[in-house]
């Protein structure tokens, strides 16, 4: 079996049927979806749709089964127990559930072990996506805790030594991305978990850019919480997941409250169900969970080892294309180093927005801007960069198209003169 997927799987994706020449190098932002996912969701809606966890009808039973079965499938995919997966709107929502839950705990609303006090510390890296930064800033502001940050170097990389330097006795949380969406740096999760355990801190893993692209075993990694989004892993919009170790989830206060997550409600107070239901207030994104499960099934059938190997090859080619182009600076680990299947870069003398426009004109979709990582870009001395990122359907032809176009960008904008 050849390692490369790419062209051989493109036929599974309707987007490439309607855009056969599309060079889609923006999977890091959001992925295209295979028919298997689109159909699973649409079929569910057409034939089995009913309210979940409410009422007694057979239809409700079927819908509830589909919903809970989806949870099991997604849990299995990331090496979690089914009670350890909570549905969220997206990864951002999942990360907020943790930070907002800890804020509630700090306000005396239950889950005392999560309460932060004045002087406690939360540690993040300077490379974090805003979704794994601002919620912690807000939590710090509410509780008097201090947000500390381990800095990045001139390539945008943070180090374990740098992390050790900011972690201390008061550290209560270490929140970090498994894979950076800008640099492609892959975090040494086991080491971070060890550092965290050494001081009794909780670990929060932003798995947005790892779960879609490599085998991820959350139990094996030993993290306490994690978050990821379906739309980046061939699944639907509007659905993501919070992972939490079972005993933690049962104690974390639910920030969002309402129907379907309670046991007893009086006008004065409410008691909550155990996890995962305690976090799932209101009518859930039922059909999307079915689509999410179909996406993990599709990826599982390809084999995540194969997906990772494929994207590693495409990623290496992207890096090489960037490094080979004069006047283009690569961000993140250099060619040949351990990194994820993406390449972010800065074109000398051409703003990223203009680079993106030029590439778009050639039918190449990339992402331009700060990629929701302003502090990282500031540390790199820029406000924006361009990112090309791979998915299962990416091919070396895509990379060749990018390489050719990239060679002309500076000329077009007169930046080579």
């Amino acid at each position: 079996m050849p390692t490369l997927l790419g062209t051989s799987v493109r036929a599974d994706f309707p987007f490439f049927q309607s855009h056969p020449d599309a060079v889609y190098l923006d999977t890091g932002a959001t992925s295209q979806r295979p028919s298997a996912v689109i159909d699973a969701e649409a079929d569910f809606v057409r034939t089995s749709y009913a309210a979940v966890h409410r009422g007694s009808s057979l239809a409700t039973g079927e819908a509830t089964w589909a919903f809970e079965n989806a949870r099991e499938r997604v849990a299995e995919f990331v090496g979690a127990g089914e009670r350890e997966i909570v549905w969220a709107q997206n990864a951002t929502d999942a990360l907020n559930m943790i930070a907002l839950g800890m804020a509630d705990a700090s306000a005396g609303l239950g889950g005392d072990r999560f309460a932060l006090r004045e002087g406690d510390e939360i540690v993040v890296t300077e490379a974090e996506h805003h979704a794994n930064l601002i919620p912690w800033q807000r939590l710090a502001a509410k509780t008097g805790a201090r947000l500390r940050c381990t800095p990045v170097d001139e390539r945008g990389l943070w180090s374990l030594d740098g992390l050790r330097a900011v972690v201390g006795d008061r550290t209560r949380v270490i929140a970090f991305a498994h894979v950076s969406n800008v640099t492609g740096q892959i975090a040494p999760v086991a080491d971070v978990v060890e550092i965290a355990r050494g001081v009794g801190a909780l670990t929060v893993l932003d798995a947005c850019q790892s779960a879609p692209h490599m085998p991820v075993d959350l139990a094996g990694l030993g993290v306490d919480f994690a978050a990821f989004s379906a739309h980046k892993m061939l699944g639907p919009n509007g659905i993501g997941a919070l992972f939490g170790r079972a005993e933690l989830l049962d104690e974390l206060p639910p920030a969002r409250t309402g129907g379907s997550m309670i046991t007893t409600v009086t006008m004065e107070r409410a008691e909550f169900l155990p996890a995962p239901q305690r976090f799932e207030a209101g009518t859930q994104a039922v059909s999307q969970t079915v689509g999410f499960a179909a996406a993990t099934a599709y990826l599982g059938a390809l084999g995540m080892d194969r997906v990772a190997a494929h994207e590693h090859e495409i990623g290496a080619a992207l890096v090489e294309a960037v490094e080979a182009t004069p006047g283009v600076r690569l961000i993140g680990p250099a060619a040949g180093e351990y990194r994820a299947g993406l390449a972010s870069f800065i074109v000398d003398g051409v703003h990223a927005h203009d680079v993106g426009q030029f590439l778009d004109d050639r039918g190449i979709t990339v992402r331009t801007g700060h990629h929701c990582a302003q502090p990282l870009h500031r540390a790199l001395g820029t406000t924006s960069s361009t990112r090309a990122s791979a998915g299962v359907y990416s091919s070396l032809d895509d990379v060749a198209a990018l390489r050719a176009a990239l060679g002309e960008v500076r000329g077009f904008f007169g930046a080579d003169r």
Binding site: H53, S56, S57, T64, T263, T264
Partner: protein
């Protein structure tokens, strides 16, 4: 009337629901547990006394649908006087049957509780049938820890 409905609401089940066994004051016993099915409000409080590893006394109070009430009644009949280990085994068998969506046959030891096999096909009712059994399991575990 479909077969499913007749099979679910067998005479046996409806009779137990109307005149349940084991109803009484759970708090007359040392181990009590309250269990609630939040989706429909079914609830039960079940108390037991354990002597020499045997359920020597059992009483429950509760309110709910005919499935949850008859299940509590049939369980009371079956397990009052049973050895603790035997009772835990029955609970395990009952749970396995109820979780199988109707595919696992009841063991002979389950006696009249076999009547709930058809209920197992209705996912939304499984919790109703399990209610009393989950409460008893909690009591038994508490008695083991004591």
């Amino acid at each position: 009337m479909s077969d499913g409905l007749e099979a679910m609401y067998q005479e046996l089940i409806l009779d137990h629901a109307k005149t349940p066994e084991g109803k009484g004051d759970p708090h007359a016993h040392p181990f009590t547990h309250h269990e609630l099915n939040p989706s429909c409000g079914d609830e039960i409080t079940l108390g037991i006394t354990v002597e020499d590893g045997r359920i020597s006394g059992l009483a429950w109070a509760g309110d709910g649908c005919s499935i949850s009430m008859s299940s509590a009644s049939i369980m009371s009949e079956l397990l009052t006087g049973a050895e603790r280990d035997e009772a835990l085994e029955r609970i395990g068998e009952f749970r396995e049957m109820m979780r199988s969506r109707g595919k696992v046959e009841p063991t002979e030891a389950l006696g009249d509780a076999a009547a709930f096999q058809n209920t197992a096909k209705y996912m939304m009712r499984v919790k109703c049938a399990m209610l009393a059994w989950v409460a008893l399991e909690a009591d038994l575990k508490a008695s083991l820890a004591a």
